[in-house]
C-alpha cells in the first residue's frame, strides 16, 4: 500500500517538475510580511530577476509565529525543500546544522564576500557559525527589545525619557495616577514580555550565571534571578501594564500603542517597519533603552539583540543559483534598498537614507557595552519559555516574585535536561 502511494506521489512530483523546468526557480521562504521589509524584498527580487533572466525567485511567506512554530519545520522536511530559508542565528541555526539542513557556506564566502559584513557578523558570539564554518548569510540586525514611547503624551505630563530605573518607576507612577496605561504589551505568546524580562535579568545577573541557569547547570534561584523577577513585580505594583496583557496578541498590542491607548510599548526594532501602515499621520514616537538598573553590574548598558539571516538548504536542487541570489542581495546597492525599507543592514558601510528611528537603533547597538541575545534563540526553548512565563507571573501579579521563582525552578527541574 505504502509503496503504491509513494509511486503515485513521485509521479505527480515528476509531472510538476517537468512543467517548470524551463527556468531555474529558487524557492525562498521567510516571515518578512510586514510593510517596509516586504516591499524592499520584493524590489530586490525584481531587480535580481531582471539581472538574471534565467532565474526566478519564488517567495513563500508566513507570519512570524506560524513560521517559527510549524511553517519552517514542515518545509524543511517536505519533499520540495526551499532553496533558501530565513533563520535566527544561534540555537536554531546550530540545530539545523546538526540535523543536516544547513549548507556550509565557508567556501562560497571565502573570496571576499564575508569581508563585506561588519566585523562582528561572524564572531563566535554571533551565532552565524558552527565549529568555525559559516552557515548563514546575515541579513538584519534586530534590536530584540527597546522601549518605544509616545512623545506627545510624555510631554503632556512634563515627563522625560528616564535614565535610571527609579526615574522609570516615577514616570510610570505619574502616568498611572493620571489614568493612562503606562505600558502596553501583548503577551499571550509570552515572548514579548519575556524578551524584555530577559534583558532586565541580563542587566542584574552576572553573565556566567545567566548562561548557567538557562543551560540548566544552576537553578534560577542560585543564579540570582530573584532580582529581575522582583523588578517585574515592582512594575506591576506601580500599575505599569495593561490589564489584558496576558490575553492580548503582540500585533493588537502594537496597534494599541499606535492608537494612543498606551504611552509606552516595549518591543523590538521591527516596530519601525510596521509604523508606516499602522500609525496615523503625524504620530510622534521615540524610544529609550531599558534604563540603567545597577551601575555596578557587569554590563549596565547592554542591549538585547540578535542577527537574522538566510540559510541555503543542504538538499537544495539549485545551490549555485541560491548563492548567486544571496550574493546579489548582500551587495551595497541592494542593502541600501533593504535598509531604506526599515531594516538594520549587517553589511559594512551601507549609506542609506534611513528612518531616524532606525538610526537611533543603530546607535543604540553601537553604544551598548555588551550584546545580550534573546534566550529563545540561544538556549533550549522550553527553558526560555519557562522563564518567560515566570516573568509574566510576576509582572501580572498572578504570583509574587518569590512564588514565580519557585514555580520556575520546579518547572525546569520537571522537564529534565534539555
Amino acid at each position: 500500500m505504502t509503496t503504491t502511494f509513494r509511486l503515485l506521489g513521485a509521479t505527480a512530483l515528476t509531472l510538476i517538475a517537468a512543467a517548470a523546468s524551463a527556468q531555474t526557480e529558487i524557492r525562498f521562504t521567510h516571515s518578512m510580511t510586514s510593510g517596509g521589509n516586504a516591499a524592499a524584498m520584493d524590489a530586490i527580487v525584481a531587480a535580481f530577476e531582471e539581472a538574471n533572466p534565467d532565474i526566478t525567485v519564488r517567495q513563500i511567506t508566513f507570519d512570524d509565529d506560524v513560521y517559527s512554530d510549524t511553517g519552517l519545520i514542515t518545509q524543511l522536511q517536505s519533499n520540495e525543500v526551499p532553496d533558501i530559508y530565513f533563520q535566527w542565528a544561534g540555537f536554531p541555526l546550530a540545530r539545523d546544522v546538526e540535523a543536516g539542513y544547513a549548507m556550509n557556506l565557508s567556501e562560497a564566502m571565502a573570496d571576499g564576500w564575508a569581508d563585506t559584513f561588519i566585523d562582528s557578523a561572524f564572531s563566535s558570539g554571533a551565532g552565524t557559525t558552527v565549529d568555525g564554518d559559516i552557515y548563514m548569510v546575515p541579513l538584519s540586525l534586530d534590536v530584540t527589545n527597546t522601549i518605544w514611547y509616545n512623545t506627545a503624551i510624555l510631554e503632556e505630563y512634563d515627563l522625560e525619557a528616564p535614565e535610571t530605573w527609579d526615574e522609570f518607576l516615577t514616570v510610570i507612577g505619574t502616568l498611572a495616577e493620571a489614568g493612562e496605561t503606562p505600558i502596553v504589551t501583548g503577551n499571550n505568546e509570552l515572548w514579548p514580555l519575556g524578551n524584555w524580562a530577559s534583558h532586565v535579568a541580563a542587566r542584574v545577573v552576572p553573565m556566567a550565571d545567566f548562561d548557567a541557569a538557562f543551560r540548566q547547570e544552576k537553578t534560577f534561584a542560585d543564579a540570582g534571578f530573584r532580582r529581575p523577577l522582583e523588578l517585574m513585580q515592582e512594575l506591576h505594583e506601580a500599575g505599569a501594564f495593561n490589564r489584558d496583557m496576558q490575553g492580548l496578541g503582540a500585533d493588537p498590542a502594537m496597534a494599541a500603542f499606535f492608537q494612543e491607548a498606551a504611552v509606552m510599548h516595549p518591543i523590538g526594532s521591527w516596530l519601525v517597519g510596521s509604523a508606516g501602515e499602522m500609525a496615523e499621520e503625524g504620530f510622534a514616537y521615540s524610544q529609550f533603552d531599558t534604563p540603567v538598573i545597577d551601575d555596578a553590574a557587569e554590563a549596565p548598558r547592554s542591549a538585547i539583540g540578535t542577527l537574522t539571516g538566510l540559510v541555503v538548504h543542504a538538499q537544495s536542487a539549485n545551490p549555485d543559483a541560491a548563492i548567486t541570489f544571496l550574493e546579489f542581495l548582500s551587495s551595497p546597492e541592494m542593502q541600501t534598498i533593504w535598509a531604506e525599507g526599515g531594516a538594520l543592514s549587517p553589511v559594512a558601510g551601507v549609506e542609506a537614507e534611513i528612518d531616524p528611528q532606525l538610526q537611533a537603533m543603530s546607535d543604540l547597538l553601537a553604544n551598548a557595552d555588551a550584546m545580550v541575545p534573546p534566550p529563545d534563540t540561544t538556549y533550549p526553548v522550553p527553558v526560555a519559555e519557562a522563564y518567560y512565563q515566570a516573568a509574566a507571573y510576576a509582572a501580572s501579579g498572578e504570583k509574587t516574585a518569590e512564588g514565580a521563582l519557585t514555580w520556575l525552578d520546579e518547572t525546569v527541574a520537571a522537564m529534565g535536561q534539555q
Binding site: G9, I60, V66, T70, N79, F258, Q259, M278
Partner: protein, 278 residues
C-alpha cells in the same frame, strides 16, 4: 397534530415569543458580523449596534482582492468536494457490506472502524505529519483531503449502518432472485434507497471539512494551497486593526455555506429522524 393553518392558542404564542427571543440572541452575532462588514472601521467603534450609515459594498471587493479569497475559496471547494465524496462514497459501500453482506471479520472490522468516534484528531497530528511526509503528500491538497475523509468515516459509517438496518432488505432480495450481481444491487437498489441519509451525512461532513483548521495549519505551507480557515487567520493577523475588512472577509466566506444549510436543513433533519442516531 395541530394543523398549521389553525389559529394559534395563547400558549403557542408564548412558545413562539420565547423561542424567537432566544434564537435572536443566538443569531445576533452573525447578523452583527454581516452589518459590520458594511461599515467603515471608524463606524464600527463609534456606533457598533446601529445600521450602517452607508452600505459600503466596496468593502467586499476590497477584502476579496486583498485577502486573495478567490484562491482560498477554490482550494476549500476542491478539498471539501473531493473529501466529502470520498468519505460518503466509501462509508456507504462499507455500511452496505457490514449490514447486507457476510464476510470473515465483519463484526470485528465494524467495531474497529468506530474507534475513530472516540479519538480527537490532535492525537494523531504529529505522527500523521510523518506519514504524509513519507507519502510525499505534505503541502499538497491531498494532505487535507485524505485525512479529512478518513476522519469523517467513523461517524458516517455509524449513521449509514443504522440507516441500512432500519430499512428491510426486501427489494434487494427480490433483485437477487432475478439474478443481479452484488455490485448491481448496491448501485441500482441500495444507493437510491439510502440516498436521504447520504445527503445528510454529506452536509454534516461538508460543514466539518470546510471549517477544518488544525490539519490545514500543519500540513500546508504554500500560500497558493491554503484553505479558507487558515487564510482567514492570516488575514486577521495582517489587518488586525481594520475590523471592517475582517468582517467583510468573514461574511464573504460564511454566507454561502449558511445559505446552503438553510436550503437543505429539511433534508438533514429528515435524514437524522429516520436514522438510528440512538
Amino acid at each position: 397534530m395541530w394543523s398549521a393553518t389553525e389559529r394559534r392558542r395563547p400558549v403557542e404564542w408564548l412558545q413562539f415569543g420565547l423561542g424567537a427571543l432566544i434564537v435572536a440572541a443566538m443569531f445576533y452575532p452573525t447578523v452583527w458580523m454581516v452589518l459590520s462588514a458594511f461599515k467603515s472601521n471608524r463606524e464600527i467603534f463609534r456606533d457598533p449596534f446601529g445600521l450602517p450609515d452607508e452600505w459600503r459594498w466596496s468593502n467586499f471587493s476590497e477584502a476579496w482582492a486583498q485577502g486573495g479569497l478567490g484562491g482560498l475559496y477554490v482550494n476549500s471547494m476542491i478539498v471539501t468536494l473531493v473529501a466529502v465524496t470520498l468519505a460518503v462514497g466509501c462509508a456507504t459501500a462499507a455500511a452496505f457490506a457490514f449490514s447486507r453482506l457476510e464476510f470473515p471479520g465483519r463484526r470485528w472490522l465494524y467495531r474497529l472502524l468506530l474507534i475513530g468516534l472516540l479519538l480527537p484528531p490532535p492525537v494523531v497530528a504529529i505522527p500523521l505529519f510523518g506519514i504524509l511526509r513519507d507519502l510525499g503528500l505534505l503541502n499538497t491538497l491531498w494532505a487535507l483531503i485524505l485525512p479529512g475523509a478518513a476522519w469523517s468515516l467513523s461517524l458516517t459509517v455509524f449513521v449509514m449502518y443504522g440507516y441500512f438496518n432500519s430499512v428491510r432488505p426486501d427489494m434487494e432480495e427480490a433483485a437477487l432472485l432475478e439474478g443481479a450481481s452484488t455490485w448491481q444491487i448496491f448501485r441500482d437498489i441500495s444507493v437510491p434507497m439510502v440516498w436521504p441519509s447520504m445527503l445528510t451525512m454529506a452536509i454534516v461532513n461538508t460543514i466539518n471539512i470546510w471549517n477544518e483548521l488544525m490539519f490545514a495549519l500543519l500540513f500546508i505551507t504554500d500560500d497558493d494551497k491554503r484553505t479558507l480557515p487558515v487564510g482567514l487567520i492570516r488575514f486577521f493577523g495582517r489587518y488586525s486593526t481594520d475590523y471592517a475588512m475582517v468582517f467583510a472577509a468573514l461574511t464573504i466566506t460564511t454566507v454561502p455555506i449558511l445559505a446552503l444549510y438553510f436550503l437543505l436543513q429539511r433534508h438533514v433533519i429528515a435524514g437524522l429522524s429516520s436514522t438510528a442516531m440512538d
